[in-house]
Symmetry: C3
Subunit: 344 residues, 3 copies
Amino acid sequence: MNFKVTQIAEWIGATVEGDPSVEIDHFSSIEKGKIRGLSFLANPKYENHLYTTAASAIIISQSLQLKQKVNAVLLRVKDPYASFTVLLTLYEKMIRPSYTGISDQAFIHAEAKVDSSCYIAFGSYISKGAHIEAGVEIHPHVFIGEGVHIEKGSIVYAGAKIYDRSLLGKEVIVQPNAVVGSDGFGFAPDSEGVYSKIPQLGNVIVKDKVEIGACCTIDRATFGSTIIEEGVKLDNHVHVAHNATIGAHSAIAALTAIGGSTKIGKRALIGGQVGIIGHLVIGDDVKVQAQSGIARNVSDQEKLQGTPALEYMNFNKSYVLFKHLGKLEERVKELEKHLKLGNL
Amino acid sequence: MNFKVTQIAEWIGATVEGDPSVEIDHFSSIEKGKIRGLSFLANPKYENHLYTTAASAIIISQSLQLKQKVNAVLLRVKDPYASFTVLLTLYEKMIRPSYTGISDQAFIHAEAKVDSSCYIAFGSYISKGAHIEAGVEIHPHVFIGEGVHIEKGSIVYAGAKIYDRSLLGKEVIVQPNAVVGSDGFGFAPDSEGVYSKIPQLGNVIVKDKVEIGACCTIDRATFGSTIIEEGVKLDNHVHVAHNATIGAHSAIAALTAIGGSTKIGKRALIGGQVGIIGHLVIGDDVKVQAQSGIARNVSDQEKLQGTPALEYMNFNKSYVLFKHLGKLEERVKELEKHLKLGNL
Amino acid sequence: MNFKVTQIAEWIGATVEGDPSVEIDHFSSIEKGKIRGLSFLANPKYENHLYTTAASAIIISQSLQLKQKVNAVLLRVKDPYASFTVLLTLYEKMIRPSYTGISDQAFIHAEAKVDSSCYIAFGSYISKGAHIEAGVEIHPHVFIGEGVHIEKGSIVYAGAKIYDRSLLGKEVIVQPNAVVGSDGFGFAPDSEGVYSKIPQLGNVIVKDKVEIGACCTIDRATFGSTIIEEGVKLDNHVHVAHNATIGAHSAIAALTAIGGSTKIGKRALIGGQVGIIGHLVIGDDVKVQAQSGIARNVSDQEKLQGTPALEYMNFNKSYVLFKHLGKLEERVKELEKHLKLGNL
């Protein structure tokens, strides 16, 4: 990339303070700014970097009053973070490979319905009865099972497998090697402990604007549906078991497991490596710290930590004492000594 | 689906109480029953749902004495859960896609041996010396390495990779994007901490009726074999390191890691996100709670929780006190105050 | 395999004590030694096995003085472990399938540059602008994105996906179904909690002699690079978030997650299922016990355990008391009883 700041100012409607002929060739954070770099300042907490950064241009707020001299060219906008994102999006369109055309080395079943505007890559597989709407991208080595329906503008990256009867909404993104619609983990033990497989007859429903991370696995329901509601964002290696529901606009970090039939409310914020057992009801706006284990129902807005998870403040109060449990034990020993009790 | 209850009664040998012309078009759990739905009641704990469910038909025990009027048609059988499973299995056969034929767009090495009754999908790869027995399904984008032997009736779903010399028994199921036979994690550090790779020359042996979840990884042995015994069920993202053995009829939940050379006994029940370090011996009929970390040998029938894991009851006793550690500290403070000790 | 001990002695420059015509047909550890097996003794701790093993031949140190009679043929060398590794490496070369040739059923973009000495398998995909140097192996179902550069002698196993602009150094090994260069997990919430995707414009740089385990995911940077330094070894299912850096010669066990922008120093030794949150600085030669959670910066040579992690000795001191928290509470109760305090 190589742009003049005047060009950038035009794209984001900024007013320029400083030399308009300065050129930039990369983005960076303000604290790592280097010559020919473009940064932004959104959080006042980082204002000190504004006066020391080596970045050549910085997007800042219209209203920010400078406390010292700034060497960089300033691009003033209403919302620096939003403008920076607009710029990233514009730049992404310039550099993203163009994914178009239907490869004659893909397998497309005669009874599948694929819009002519789709990208269907070399080596991908579209089964009988699948329906792929306009503008969808199916990358190499993707498998689309029987009766799968993918709505407009969704992207399924290389190696992802979408098994039978799954429904993907609009503008869904499935990262590489994720699996949607695999068999739920359902087995019935006999009296000897030998398991029989319980058929998994349901499906997975993924609503609009969901993003599913690389190597995630979302199992289909025993019957009915496993549901990922609108706008949910799953990081890599997240596991969602059969019949679970993830509420709209929830974000779940990497390597977290959601148990079977558990229903999570809206806007959950769940850290990495969290485990939530099956058959629970989790309210709206819940926050779970990384590596916690949830084994009970959770009310709206609870904030939890620990295994099994406690209310966040309670966990931390106990954990501070755990850190110094030796001292507490010494205090007890001192008391015993004083009273000539204990093992003394 | 759309069936009359008389048809269903015939399949499972049930006697019908109520209108035999009622039709059902889906399965559901009894508590979520809706019109035209078929449910079952196996656990007496849920009997109250029987009198309130909106399901149109319910499979119940021959011996159940009704306490109230039931609106649904009743199908009486000896073992409701078993009959329901029979029905699911029948229905699965109706809806499961038919996987047949050997694609001319698969790669099959001239020196591989593939039974003519197999399904070998478009885009799959069968290496030299592989032996694929009757009725095996090899789905799209599956890789079968050199010398791999897969016995009758096994299914390898899309994108799974079975590397060199692995042996899969009869009726094994490998879910999408699982990896069997990848290199074990073996490196020898020199005096500077620089690692050299230790060749991994062994293989993986997967016995009959094992199920391996989506995105599982089972590494091959350094020498000898990593062994998954008969009937083991692995949920998604389970990791089994080189030279480990998982005992027959064990079930392991998602995201659990089994360390190298560890030997687990029969019928283990291991929760999700559990870690078991290498070189341990774990007895038969062991139960491990989710997210526990095992760092010592375990006797038959132990039940463990925590990291490092304690006996289940001991963990819980300590954890109850941990929850209220603040109160314990206050009690100590009170004692100190009384004796004018401590920081007062 | 089937070798005379004289042949083996020649390969590793050993002097033979015992019958030179003995034949061996497998490797094993000394404690599991069987007839016709070859083992080694490197660690004096295991010397007792030398006198009881059924192995037919054992590699031992030149300087070891026997305390009892040994039945096996002895091969004496300077460094038994090193010689055994040499042997494994030799044997691996004999049994490893030969991966050669460029398949005409691979997709290679006209503007990709692929050295004629490479192995490019059936069903693999090489995008525009990719550059694959001499001796690289690209196995079946591998995807190589636009502008990816892979240096000499690297191996990318089946199903791995290397997305756009990633750089892989020399002799890198990527195990099956790993993902390098997927989108970082970056989203900006609006005031309603609805997320917008932040474009991920950077790349992943993997330096020489790195090994990436099966089903690992390494996300590309938002801008700049996610960096895996020279000689790093990642076990299976490791997740490295955008903009993180893993220091040279670090080893990370399975199912560990490294948060965004975190920088880990050299020679870290990180257990399985560890979580390290984003934006941290971790020093050199750090050791982290399995399942720990790191939520603060870490100095050189720290050894940590717990969630949140404590210094290793402190964690263990506290955990010993946690195990017996019931006893501590009883001692407090006893004191209260003595002073007639508490709930008595």
